[in-house]
């Protein structure tokens, strides 16, 4: 089907062997998730705690009328929870179920386009304790970015 012209930008990126990631900070370290499922990035609105929810759940909030469950990504990954500053942001992501869930992070950095060559998949990482949520490590020019699996993070 060579005649079919690819118009999809993401598809084209994939064909060129690169993927876009949103890089952010948790407990001082760099993390990232695939850009495609991120719907929006916002400053935290008032969040209502949900009694008896799992510890990682901060609460629910309203985004232009849409009810969103907000999770503390630091708690989810069991990393240090420093007090949130004005730079904290909520990443609105689309879970597999279609539900929009919010992930609270310390700070959002930038979008990085990583080539396959700059990514080391988790399976090849030697030693210890690789969390189920880590897909791999990205090394764009000098940085070390932990690539996270959005699907496992927002499920369960």
């Amino acid at each position: 089907m060579a005649e079919i012209v690819a118009h999809s930008a993401a598809g084209m990126a994939r064909r060129r062997g690169t993927r876009d990631f949103l890089v952010f900070i948790l407990a001082g370290d760099l993390y990232a998730v695939g850009l495609t499922r991120i719907r929006e990035i916002l400053s935290p609105p008032p969040i209502t705690p949900v009694p008896r929810a799992k510890p990682a759940v901060i609460g629910v909030c309203s985004v232009r009328g849409l009810l969103v469950t907000v999770m503390d990504l630091r708690r989810r990954l069991h990393v240090e929870e420093q007090p949130l500053t004005r730079r904290a942001r909520i990443l609105l992501v689309e879970a597999q179920s279609g539900e929009v869930v919010g992930l609270m992070v310390d700070e959002v950095r930038h979008v990085a386009r990583l080539a396959d060559s700059e990514i080391e998949m988790a399976t090849s990482l030697l030693g210890g304790d690789v969390s189920e949520h880590v897909i791999g490590i990205g090394r764009p020019v000098g940085d070390v970015v932990v690539l996270l699996n959005l699907s496992t993070i927002v499920s369960a």
Binding site: E3, I4, V5, H7
Partner: protein, 129 residues
């Protein structure tokens, strides 16, 4: 301001075409796109013309694009209307029939937004002369 009637039963296709027509500065006259989702809808909308350009898919259930072309060509009101046929590329027969019925141009799917804009621009340009 050019008036375009877009006849196509697939709504995402309509969105694609509308988007292609409305973006870009090549259609300097500005466009007003009216959508019809079936041949019948087109028949209902045609009397509200005349339209400068009718873009129609060929393969639609009920009244197909070829029948629509013939109908338009019989209409006094639309004697200056240009007709652009769009359809799946595999049918040369459709193309021949369409052109012999009086269509002005034919675009085979899949086409890029640029091709569509270019065709539309060429067809509409004659109108303003």
């Amino acid at each position: 301001m050019s008036r375009i009637l877009l006849v196509e039963d697939s709504f995402s296709m309509r969105a694609f075409v509308r988007s292609a027509l409305e973006s870009g500065d090549t259609l300097f006259t500005g466009v007003e796109v009216v959508e019809a989702s079936s041949g019948f809808d087109a028949l209902r909308l045609l009397p509200r013309g005349p339209y400068d350009l009718v873009i129609t898919d060929i393969n639609m259930p009920d009244i197909n694009g070829l029948e629509l072309v013939r109908f338009i060509r019989k209409s006094d009101q639309h004697k200056n209307t240009k007709v652009l046929l769009i359809s799946t590329q595999s049918s040369d027969k459709d193309r021949e029939r369409g052109m012999s019925l009086g269509a002005d141009a034919y675009l085979a799917k899949p086409f890029s937004p640029e091709s569509l804009r270019e065709e539309a621009r060429l067809l509409l340009a004659r109108v303003t002369e």
